[in-house]
């Protein structure tokens, strides 16, 4: 038992706050948008040059001139704005976004992230991921707790090429939620356990150093 991908996304949505400007990565992070609480205004940034990204359009309103960073057709909202890639990354690099949620292959206990290439496999490029982790005020990774080979993805030190060094503030895995002090040298802090996951499960599947610091009221989703 552990969180499903949708449950991970739902948990990640709890990191959003009213008025936040946020960038959601491609894949699982995109699903977080489905769990923004009713009535909360979160302005989504699309790094190809848009703030105020709206939902998928109705079929008869599809516009090839309006796509997101995942190349999907989308819609605009009353408060949307468009701009160049240079401006878009001034927003990213300049620390104007409150939060980014990204997928991950490995996260180290000090907040290093690897999510863009696997040696031996063809690298497709880092896209905007390196810019996002370097620039956004708070970076959260959502991912499975273990990889397809059953190995831990929370590690002492990443074995894959990095996307960023000491950049991640929080990891939400299928097994729980971990806080990282990316500027310090302490262990991760396990603050929540996914429903049905035991401390023993975590111990068995985590390479990174961590301490258990469960917040009573937040145990389980």
């Amino acid at each position: 038992m552990a969180w499903t991908r949708e449950q991970i996304a739902a948990r990640a949505a709890k990191e959003l706050r009213e008025g936040f400007y946020a960038n959601l990565g491609i894949g699982l992070p995109t699903h977080v948008a489905n769990y923004i609480p009713e009535g909360m205004k979160v302005i989504l940034h699309s790094e190809n040059g848009m703030l105020g990204m709206g939902p998928f359009p109705y079929e008869d309103e599809i516009d090839p001139d309006l796509t997101n960073a995942g190349k999907q057709t989308i819609s605009e909202l009353p408060y949307s704005s468009y701009f160049s890639s240079a401006e878009s990354f001034n927003i990213v690099r300049g620390g104007h976004l409150d939060l980014t949620i990204l997928g991950g292959m490995e996260v180290s206990q000090h907040g290093d992230l690897a999510n863009w290439m696997v040696p031996g496999k063809m690298a497709k490029g880092m896209g905007g991921a390196m810019d996002l982790v370097a620039g956004v005020k708070r970076c959260v990774v959502v991912m499975e707790h273990i990889n397809k080979d059953g190995e831990p993805k929370l590690v002492k030190k990443c074995s894959l090429p990095l996307t960023g060094m000491r950049v991640i503030d929080m990891v939400i895995t299928s097994h729980g939620v971990f806080e990282i002090d990316k500027h310090g040298n302490g262990p991760m802090r396990l603050i929540e356990l996914a429903k049905g996951v035991t401390l023993e499960d975590i111990r068995a599947h985590t390479d990174a150093d961590y301490i258990v610091a469960l917040k009573e009221e937040k145990v389980a989703a």
Binding site: N48, G49, S84
Partner: protein, 238 residues
């Protein structure tokens, strides 16, 4: 000084030769200079150095030039799902320099703005930083990134006036405005050319000074991922 050309071939006339560097606007297939790419293919120019955020798909966008083996080197942030590009890359037939998307945008802007280099935090501690100068500002480490320039920039805008002032539409803007500034010659293909005075000067995204040649193109505007929701359905957010 007439900037208006009949079509892509006439706009490119006298400018191309093997081995030149070309910046090509667009993000995925959105806002790409379809007509100039097709003309470059037709002209058969070889050993191109391409600077572009992505390289199209198999058979469309810059993928056309890749398919025809006209491309020697690519500076890009993401290769996309282009299988033939991947094959040539793995076979060592095409060289690729990966640069983070924001760094790519800023390197291009710097190239147009007379800034030879700038410092950024993006890529510190990664392969991107290897061999680059590191410097500490206010206790944080940054790396030095160099400007990019091209011989020709091919870009796509929505409207132009006869002076070459450009307006983009929605997310087609992306890399086009900065690329317009960073090449020896900039060619803009547009959906409509209007007389001077028809575009409100406060709405101009790219001033005509950056644009050397313009022509009215025809656009397929292929969609890479056609996503939509049903009118009846509960709103799903992208």
């Amino acid at each position: 000084m007439n900037k208006v050309y009949k079509d892509a071939l006439s706009a490119l006339e006298g400018l191309t030769k093997d081995g030149i560097t070309i910046m090509s606007g667009g993000f995925g297939l959105c806002g790409i200079p379809e007509n100039s790419i097709a003309a470059l293919n037709k002209l058969g120019v070889q050993n191109l150095n391409i600077i572009a955020n992505t390289c199209g798909v198999d058979g469309f966008g810059l993928g056309i030039l890749v398919d025809a083996k006209q491309v020697k080197h690519v500076t890009t942030s993401y290769m996309g799902e282009n299988k033939e590009f991947g094959r040539q890359y793995l076979a060592g037939e095409i060289e690729v320099e990966f640069t983070p998307q924001g760094t790519l945008a800023e390197r291009i802007r710097a190239g147009g703005a007379g800034i030879p280099a700038f410092y950024t935090k993006t890529g510190v501690g990664t392969v991107v930083a290897e061999g680059k100068e590191h410097k500490i500002f206010n206790g944080e480490t940054y790396i030095l990134e160099r400007a990019l320039r091209a011989d020709i920039a091919i870009i796509k805008a929505w409207k132009a006036d006869e002076e070459g002032n450009l307006v983009y539409r929605k997310t087609t803007q992306n890399f086009n405005p900065q690329m317009a500034t960073a090449a020896t010659i900039t060619i803009a293909e547009v959906e409509e050319i209007v007389p001077c005075g028809e575009i409100d000067p406060d709405h101009i995204h790219t001033p005509g000074i950056y644009v050397d040649r313009i022509f009215k193109g025809s656009f397929e505007k292929r969609i890479e991922k056609r996503t939509f929701r049903k009118r009846e359905a509960i709103t799903e957010i992208a």
